[in-house]
């Protein structure tokens, strides 16, 4: 069923991993998709519009939106997915890596959401979905800044939910567990498996687990669901 026909979705980090899964899903179900990512995309679809943008640079994001204003009339759904992760003991974490996580994981979703909200304000409908992390609840060693940025992402959504509520724009966060991806490959496998073993549902996330909640947050019927964080796998 084309549940996203006549909808335009913007997905950050759309070239790989979770972002690619979500972009493919939206396209499969009828949406026009705008993808923001630093590199080029291999996604081939007439309904896919790729924008190469460095999400660590707020001015570059604003320039990207300036281009969108000239090309498109609406943005209905935003998925703030792009993130960077450096997992390291705090005492030896490079400050530049910490800053990059703040810029990409927190400031970029702020800029993207606020610029997209300017489109949504006109159509009086919008869905902003942030991709959070189980790291917020589990607080793993080495993830001090990463977990803090993802916690901040929930707070960002909750405040924006209040500001955008009158425009019929909802803002929610999906806290995902580990899924096979390039980001996961950066982490020690044994430590990830130990964390997964301790979850109420002790397995890695599947694409369907993520898409199920994305569809729920994005649906017309979820207009009364906002400022919520849903964790997968029983994390809380």
């Amino acid at each position: 069923m084309d549940i996203y026909s006549a909808k335009t979705a913007l997905v950050t980090g759309s070239t790989r991993g979770v972002g690619r899964i979500i972009a493919d899903h939206f396209l499969k179900h009828g949406a026009e998709v705008i993808g923001f990512a630093r590199g080029p995309s291999s996604l081939e679809s007439q309904a896919y519009h790729h924008v190469q943008v460095d999400l660590a640079d707020p001015l570059a994001i604003q320039q990207a939106f300036l281009g969108l204003h000239k090309r498109i009339a609406r943005i209905d759904i935003v998925v703030n997915n792009a993130a960077v992760l450096t997992s390291q003991y705090a005492m030896i974490m490079p400050p530049a890596a910490a800053q990059a996580m703040v810029n990409v994981n927190l400031v970029a979703p702020f800029i993207v959401s606020r610029e997209a909200a300017k489109f949504m304000r006109k159509s009086k409908w919008g869905r902003i979905i942030n991709i959070g992390s189980m790291a917020v609840a589990l607080e793993p060693i080495g993830d001090s800044v990463y977990a803090a940025t993802k916690a901040g992402l929930s707070t960002l959504a909750n405040v924006m939910a209040k500001e955008f509520g009158a425009m019929n724009v909802t803002c929610n966060t999906l806290g995902i567990t580990a899924i096979e991806s390039d980001m996961l490959a950066q982490l020690p496998r044994d430590k990830i498996e130990a964390i997964i073993a301790g979850l109420p549902v002790p397995r890695f996330a599947k694409a369907e687990d993520i898409l199920n909640v994305v569809d729920f947050f994005a649906s017309d019927a979820s207009g009364y669901i906002t400022a919520q964080t849903v964790f997968l796998g029983g994390v809380n």
Binding site: Q62, L66, H69, R121
Partner: protein
């Protein structure tokens, strides 16, 4: 009339039109009893203004968007400079026009 004087007057006229368009757009969203008066001296902020904070944000967003598209670069009306002024650029349509003209003079001198 000197050409630069004409150009400056045209630019002012255009800025006023952009702000008034934003107010008209706001009125389309407001109930009949809450309509904003649309004049070149309409108060936007402060005790005489009838706009609430969200309405003022809507006007600022519409004006910023129109300026950004017209001048082909991001224009921000709410940076530190605007917020730290003794006389707020958002007092009324006239003060906002003056402030925008000042900003545009830096981006693209008339």
């Amino acid at each position: 009339m000197e050409p630069e004087v004409t150009e400056a007057a045209e630019r002012r006229e255009e800025i006023v039109r952009i702000i008034l368009d934003a107010l008209k757009s706001l009125n389309q969203e407001l109930d009949e009893g809450a309509q904003i008066e649309i004049t070149p001296t309409t108060p936007l902020f402060g005790p005489d203004a009838t706009l609430d904070s969200l309405a003022l944000v809507s006007v600022i967003v519409d004006v910023e968007t129109a300026l950004t598209l017209k001048w082909d670069q991001p224009v921000s009306l709410t940076d530190d400079r605007a917020m730290s002024r003794e006389i707020s650029p958002f007092d009324d349509v006239g003060t906002l026009t003056d402030y925008i003209l000042e900003l545009l003079q830096e981006i693209s001198p008339a």
